[in-house]
Each structure stands twice: as structure tokens, then as C-alpha cells.
């Protein structure tokens, strides 16, 4: 029953996605339909047009199994032979190097704000 309800709710999320995609293509904005759908669902929840209970189970199911939906694209790497050599190692070096810098910059920035906030209270 709970599962059936979740599936139905995923249907609602697909409706939001469809509306988002339509808006994106009709208005020619470079923002993907999924992000527009996200914004739309947020606004509808915020203005109490959609009740949280109508989407909560379905959204929870999708978000808890998020990794599964990335797997088929990850497997797509087998179509790129050139990435299994020196080029691939270089690409990985760039991704690791840049990834570390990005996370450090973001993390330190947020920590700095966090400590300043604490300082305000004291």
C-alpha cells in the first residue's frame, strides 16, 4: 500500500517535470525542466496549493535510492576507449585536483561564516 502510494506520488513528480520541460522549451530558457519543476513544486508547497503528504513518500523513495539512477550513465564509460589510457589518467588528475580545491574553498567559506555566527551570539 505504502509502495503503491509512493509510485502514484512519483507520477505527480513526473507531471511537475513535464510542466517544467514545457516551460523551458516554450520560453527558450537555458535552465533544464527538472530544475524549473523543482522550483514550481517548491512554490506550490509554499503556497499550500499542494500538500506535503501528496508528494512526501514518493520524493523520499526517489531521494533514498538516488545513486541507483546514476549507475547506467556510469556504465556508459565503456563506449570511450580513449579514456582508458593516459588521457583518462590526466582527466582523473584534473577531477581529483579541482575537486579537492572546490570542496576546501566551499567548506572553509561555510565554516568561516559558521564561526562568525557563533561569535555574534556570544
Amino acid at each position: 500500500m505504502r509502495f503503491a502510494k509512493s509510485i502514484l506520488q512519483i507520477g505527480y513528480l513526473y507531471v511537475m517535470l513535464f510542466i517544467g520541460n514545457s516551460i523551458s522549451s516554450v520560453l527558450h530558457i537555458p535552465i533544464p525542466g527538472s530544475i524549473i519543476g523543482l522550483g514550481l513544486l517548491f512554490l506550490l508547497l509554499q503556497f499550500n496549493i499542494i500538500k506535503l503528504e501528496w508528494v512526501e513518500l514518493g520524493a523520499g523513495l526517489l531521494l533514498s535510492e538516488l545513486l541507483l539512477f546514476f549507475i547506467p550513465s556510469a556504465i556508459g564509460v565503456i563506449n570511450y576507449d580513449e579514456l582508458f589510457g593516459v588521457q583518462g589518467m590526466k582527466v582523473i588528475a584534473v577531477i581529483v585536483g579541482s575537486g579537492i580545491v572546490v570542496m576546501l574553498a566551499t567548506g572553509y567559506m561555510a565554516e568561516w561564516f559558521g564561526h562568525r555566527k557563533k561569535g555574534d551570539v556570544v
Binding site: 513528480l13 546514476f70 549507475i71 550513465s73 556510469a74 575537486g99 579537492i100 561555510a110
Partner: protein, 237 residues
């Protein structure tokens, strides 16, 4: 036959994914994470049975397709924690703007440094944001969207492995710092990791992902071309 392969691919991927989850829960090594183990096992099966990716993906794409409604679903944790997010609005905007700018410039500079060709370099630049947006940006700045999709994937996997180490070494304690760096550095897979830390971390990560996507669209289409031209002209006088 094609339908049968698609059906087996879909069910097989789900089965191997849950098998990997059980193994990961039992042993807990980061490299046994289902996001690494599942593709490795499936790729081995495809290679051994000689199944082309296109036939596999007839079934696999049903799972990729669910990324659409899953992205919409991020509205729910954002809505539930909106009061908190509003309180942190400035912190989120500043951290993610800095993160996005660093992501774009460092990907580009490092790609130049190791000597990658132009197509690979431009495909790497948008790698920090969620797949559909990264693919769009890639097209706009002259990269290959398919390559970008793979780099986004790799960023997510590696980011998810690196983040817990960075959090420990740098003593990031606040849920906002942990969540924001995961969402910024490893988009969807990072967010799923952030929810393992806690609901709060997950929420910060979800908002980071959304904000990073929007800011990256702006930065990579306006400032990146200027930055690229500046770097190239100072390197080649």
C-alpha cells in the same frame, strides 16, 4: 530479444545494486560503495557476454530517466527546511558562488596544465553541476555533452570518496559546511552521502546543488569566455 536484454538489464542492475549495498553495509570500505561496485560488475558482465552498451541501456535508461523526477523531489527537503535555509541564505550564496568559480577556473587551468585537448577541456569545465545542466553548459561552451556526462559522474564518485577524508582532516564541524561542500563538490552522489551524515547536512547539500547549477550557468556563459581568452592570450603572446 532486444526487449528481453533490456528487461534483464533493468532487473539485473537493480539486483546488483542492492547486492552491492548489502556488501557495502557489511564491510564499509569506500571503494566498495554501490556507485563503484555496481558499474564495475555490470561492465564485466557486458564485456564477458559481448553485450553492447546500447542494448543494455534500452533497459538502463529507465533508471536514468528517474533522475528527472528525483531532481524535482529535492523541492521536498528544501521546503521542509526553508526557515533554516533562509537564515543561512547569505552563507549559502557566498560559499556556492566561490565554489562554482573555483570549480570552473581550476578545472580549466588544471586541464591546460596536464595538456588535455580543447574538447576534453571544455567538457571538463561544467563537471561540478548536476548532469542535465552540465550537459547544456558543455554544449554552450563548445564541449561534448556525452563526455561531460561521464566527467560529472566521475566527479560525483571521486567527490563522494574524497569529501569524508577532507571533512576529517580539516575538522569541518558545522552541518552547513559539510552539506554545502558535498553538494558543491559532488552534486547528486554527494547529496546522497550528505543524507548519511544527517537530514540537515542533506538539506544543505540539496540546496547547494540547486544553487550551484544556477550560478554555474551564469558564470560559465558570461565570465568563463572572458577568463579563457585572458588566460590564452597571456600564455601565447
Amino acid at each position: 530479444m532486444t526487449f528481453l536484454i533490456a528487461f534483464i538489464s533493468l532487473l539485473g542492475t537493480i539486483a546488483i545494486f542492492y547486492g552491492s549495498k548489502t556488501i557495502y553495509a557489511k564491510f564499509g570500505f569506500a571503494w566498495l560503495s554501490p556507485i563503484i561496485l555496481t558499474p564495475v560488475v555490470v561492465i564485466l558482465i557486458l564485456l564477458v557476454t559481448g553485450t553492447p552498451y546500447e542494448k543494455y541501456n534500452a533497459g538502463g535508461s529507465i533508471l536514468s530517466n528517474l533522475l528527472g523526477p528525483a531532481t524535482v523531489a529535492f523541492a521536498v527537503p528544501i521546503y521542509k527546511n526553508f526557515v533554516l535555509l533562509k537564515k543561512y541564505a547569505i552563507e549559502i550564496m557566498v560559499s556556492i558562488t566561490v565554489g562554482s568559480a573555483v570549480a570552473i577556473t581550476s578545472s580549466f587551468l588544471l586541464a591546460l596544465l596536464v595538456g588535455l585537448n580543447e574538447e576534453l577541456t571544455h567538457s571538463l569545465v561544467p563537471r561540478s553541476v548536476t548532469t542535465p545542466i552540465a550537459m547544456d553548459i558543455s554544449t554552450m561552451i563548445g564541449g561534448s555533452p556525452t563526455l561531460t556526462a561521464i566527467f560529472v559522474m566521475t566527479t560525483g564518485i571521486l567527490g563522494g570518496l574524497l569529501a569524508p577524508m577532507l571533512i576529517r582532516t580539516c575538522h569541518f564541524n558545522t552541518p552547513s559546511a559539510k552539506g554545502l561542500m558535498l553538494g558543491m563538490g559532488a552534486h547528486g552522489t554527494g547529496t546522497s552521502k550528505a543524507f548519511e551524515f544527517g537530514e540537515l547536512e542533506g538539506t544543505f547539500s540539496s540546496i547547494a546543488m540547486v544553487v550551484a547549477a544556477l550560478i554555474s550557468i551564469v558564470l560559465s556563459t558570461t565570465l568563463f569566455p572572458v577568463f579563457e581568452q585572458f588566460v590564452m592570450s597571456s600564455l601565447l603572446p
